[in-house]
């Protein structure tokens, strides 16, 4: 084994402040899972601001009928880039970043199994995202045609074929996501290997924290769902650049094949995004209710069931396609089926809160908001899983409202819960509770004002992806409300940005365990040292820190 001196440490006693370039090099060359986790989350948040700006421009355009702020072409690009950004460049990096940071800490490991592959995965993700956004300049500048992709985040064929999409904008969409998805697959491999082989002594599978369980299933889903997308994208690239006809009906190909391949990735992707949200609230709710999670074995079973069933529901995105009634009925049934394990989780979270000594600090507020918003998104999901109802509202704003309740009300609320919960561990500083609560209420009100009315405008027949509408449709009020809601959400995000900035500069010291929590990450310093634990932990229960704090009443006697 070759050993190098550690940069930034003059004498082994402490770090001096290295020059800017050295610090940049330290971050670029790092293989530390914690630094990579921070880089993932920070990049995800920057893309969140970009995706949010795109959404704001769309809402500005739709606030009143007949608006001409944006051209139809620009609007197409905006909704494509907004959807692609939020799914691939916000949701994915943040969930992978949190997993990167906390999975090794929670299982008592020093790093992920393949630290350098981890770094490779992050850089592929980042360069893939930059390549996608380079399309705004590249596609326009070099060929004088097109700009950013404008084919929707699902890029339906044959719209993506060369006949309908000239220039290279769609190629940028394909290549950017392809590079990015290689990074996600690399991180998926890393997470599975780490969780299965690097747990500390005593941590059997049924003693793992729920975050670790959920990220294991999540990584397995990434491994199953991402390759079909990559394959479909390569096939599309062949269509566009080499004259193949995989998805070109006029050349003997099948546009439906693209839909099948895309949604075989696309629906598990929804669960890839939402399982980490489940993971965060499953960690936060017990700590802030001062109770163990209700029904741990059932929560694990529900997670595995969701992972399994989510691979067999993709056709519910294609009910309006004209498939046979038998196919529609089967996939309607499988979609209903997934509501059962999801419902079990909802009941168990509520069961954990029931009778608990609830502390409504900001992480808990966001977790409670998650429960309410995700419930609404889940119920409208069950409505959409019903074929006749889906036919009525397919491709309408009802669907837009539904999936924003799932992905914004579900995922984004839980991400904020996670940030408020783990920020003290990552930085050693507490975020302001006062600013956090202001942010929560602004976001909660703004979110509901934005996406609640979309259900109504959708029921009234407003199709999604239109860039404007006539004043005689009865949609004016609902669109205006949605646009006002965005302004309130922006105020909430500004509160968050100010809170982070202020806390990093002059926040209260967090200490190792500010929430009196129970999992292993709270047994080390804030922020943790590079090696995580000086000595390898040995655990006896799912709440190792509880056992240490309360040796007279340890959990292992009851598990």
């Amino acid at each position: 084994m070759t050993t190098l001196p550690q940069p930034g440490h003059a004498d082994g006693q402490g770090a001096f402040r290295a020059p800017f370039l050295s610090r940049m090099h330290e971050w670029i060359a790092t293989a530390d899972h914690k630094k990579l986790g921070v880089m993932y989350v920070t990049t995800g948040l920057i893309f969140f601001l970009i995706g949010g700006l795109e959404a704001t421009m769309m809402r500005w355009q739709l606030a009143v009928p007949g608006n001409t702020i944006l051209s139809p072409e620009d609007f197409n690009r905006l909704f494509t880039m907004h959807g692609t950004t939020m799914v691939f460049l916000v949701g994915m990096p943040i969930l992978l970043g949190v997993a990167n940071y906390f999975v090794p800490l929670q299982i008592g490991a020093r790093d992920l199994a393949f630290p350098r592959l981890n770094a490779f995965g992050f850089w592929l993700f980042l360069f893939g995202g930059l390549l996608l956004y380079f399309s705004y300049f590249g596609a326009q500048g070099l060929y004088g045609m097109g700009s950013a992709p404008d084919v929707g985040w699902f890029a339906y064929a044959p719209l993506t074929e060369r006949t309908y999409s000239r220039g290279h904008s769609t190629d940028y969409w394909i290549l950017g996501l392809l590079v990015s998805s290689f990074g996600s697959i690399a991180t998926g491999i890393n997470l599975i290997t780490t969780i299965l082989t690097m747990r500390c002594r005593g941590m059997t599978l049924m003693k793992m924290p729920l975050l670790v369980w959920l990220m294991l299933i999540d990584a397995i889903l990434i491994m199953i769902a991402m390759p079909p997308l990559a394959a479909a994208q390569v096939m599309l690239l062949f269509d566009r650049l080499m004259g193949a006809h995989f998805f070109d009906p006029q050349g003997g190909g099948s546009a439906v094949l693209w839909q099948n391949l895309f949604w075989f990735f696309g629906h598990p992707e929804v669960y890839i995004l939402i399982l980490p949200a489940f993971a965060y609230v499953s960690e936060i709710i017990p700590v802030f209710c001062r109770k163990v999670i209700f029904g741990y074995p059932l929560m694990v079973a529900a997670t595995v069931s969701i992972g399994f069933i989510s691979l067999g529901v993709w056709v519910h995105h294609m009910f309006a396609l004209g498939l046979s009634p038998m196919v529609n009925t089967i996939f309607m049934g499988s979609t209903f089926l997934i509501a059962i394990p999801t419902g079990i989780k909802m009941f168990n979270w509520v069961g954990t809160m029931f009778g608990g000594k609830i502390r409504f600090d900001t992480p808990m507020l966001f977790s409670t908001g998650f429960l309410a918003m995700f419930l609404i998104g889940g119920l409208t999901g069950v409505m959409l899983a019903t074929v006749p109802f889906d036919w009525q509202v397919s491709d309408s704003y009802f669907v837009v409202g539904h999936f924003h309740y799932v992905l914004f009300g579900g995922l984004v609320f839980s991400i904020f819960a996670a940030i408020y919960y783990w920020f003290p561990k990552v930085t050693g500083k507490m975020l302001s509770e006062k600013l956090g609560k202001c942010q929560f209420w602004l976001l909660f009100i703004g979110f509901n004002l934005t996406f609640g009315p979309m259900h109504v405008s959708g029921m009234l027949g407003m199709p999604r992806r239109i860039y404007t509408y006539h004043a005689d449709r009865g949609w004016e009020l609902w669109n205006m409300l949605s646009s006002i809601g965005v302004l309130i959400q922006i105020a909430g995000v500004l509160f968050f940005a100010w809170n982070v900035f202020r806390s990093l500069r002059s926040g209260k010291d967090a200490g190792a365990d500010p929430w009196d929590a129970w999992t292993l990450e709270w047994s080390t310093t804030s922020p943790p040292p590079e090696y995580n634990f000086e000595e390898e932990p040995v655990v006896h229960s799912r709440r190792p820190l509880w056992d240490l704090k309360h040796p007279e009443d340890p959990d292992w006697k009851y598990e």
Binding site: M1, T2, T3, L4, P5, Q6, P7, G12, G14, H25, I28, A29, T30, A31, D32, R110, D111, P115, R116, A119, F120, W123, F127, G128, L130, L131, F134, A139, D171, L175, V179, F182, G183, R201, L237, R290, F354, G355, A512, D513, S523, T524, T525, P529, E530, Y531, F533, E534, E535, E536, V538, H540, L545, D547, L548, K549, H550, P551, E552, D553
Partner: protein, 281 residues
């Protein structure tokens, strides 16, 4: 939790993978390879060279042994102090302080009976309304059946006031099954309400349900919506909720089986096995 012996390293620190820019270089090269497809082919060539250089360097760092760095131990260390007595224990019958709450519930039978009796009272109110409003007891029965028989929903009030065999059969099935189901839900939920159970059962739930029905029926079935008198609807719901809630809350609570042994749960009685409920024989 306890801590095991120190991990591979020295007395002064831990060996961890050394930082390296190879993954960065390799990823950048791979991205350039793809970028060349949509720009100029020479970009792909450069990308290939960069990716290869990064990969070769990466392999050299990993073979034959990974390059590590010695990270010195941090001076700050966390000590977790035991806090005996810092947590107040629940006082639960049976001598344990660990349980899933509620530890006692109303029997499911009470919920089913409450639902049935409440359903009968609700039916009486509905029949009275039918007699007053349309001069026929079958009017409300047919409206209920129209939720699953669209042809009934298309009929005018005079036709709805007449006898329909299928309307009667379906109306009875819907009403009885819904009453039992809601009664069971009352049986499960009411023990979990800390205060004001009657208020919850008699007013909160009926008003919530009426609100949901009022909001959704006009969208789901606007024709049927025109036939419903919402004042009478709310009154009948409140009567149901009050009676069902009263019957459930008056029933004797029974303990859950959470602290019973498997033998007890299986109902096995033999010498040496504690009797049902946990009393030692």
């Amino acid at each position: 939790m306890e801590h095991d012996a120190k991990q591979p390293g020295t007395e002064h620190g831990i060996h961890l993978p050394a930082p390296t820019s190879s993954p960065f270089v390799c990823a950048f090269g791979v991205t350039l390879i793809f970028t060349g497809i949509v720009t100029i082919w020479s970009v792909s060539i450069i990308g290939f060279i960069v990716a290869l250089a990064g990969a070769i360097r990466w392999w050299r760092e990993g073979l034959p042994d990974n390059i590590h760095q010695l990270v010195p131990f941090q001076e700050d260390r966390v000590t977790i102090e035991p806090r005996p007595g810092a947590v107040a224990h629940l006082m639960i019958p049976g001598g344990t302080h660990r349980a899933r709450i509620p530890v006692e519930i109303h029997p499911y039978g009470a919920g089913a009976i409450g639902g049935l009796v409440g359903g009968i009272a609700m039916a009486v109110i509905a029949l009275i309304y039918g007699l007053i409003a349309e001069g026929s007891p079958w009017y409300t029965v047919n409206i209920l059946a129209a939720t699953v028989l669209p042809s009934l929903g298309q009929e005018d009030p005079a036709q709805l006031a007449q006898w329909h065999t299928w309307g009667f059969i379906l109306g009875i099935i819907i009403h009885v099954s819904m009453s039992i189901m809601i009664g069971l839900l009352y049986g499960v939920v009411l023990p979990m309400i800390a205060k004001g159970r009657i208020l919850f059962g008699a007013f909160f739930v009926p008003l919530l349900w009426s609100g949901l029905a009022w909001g959704s029926l006009r969208v789901v079935n606007p024709v049927l919506n025109d036939h419903v008198d919402w004042t009478w609807f709310i009154i009948s719901q409140i009567v149901f909720g009050a009676i069902c809630g009263f019957i459930v809350t008056r029933s004797e609570r029974i303990g859950t089986m959470q602290n019973w042994s498997t033998l007890e749960r299986l109902g096995i009685e033999s010498p040496g096995v504690p009797s049902i409920g946990g009393d030692e024989e």
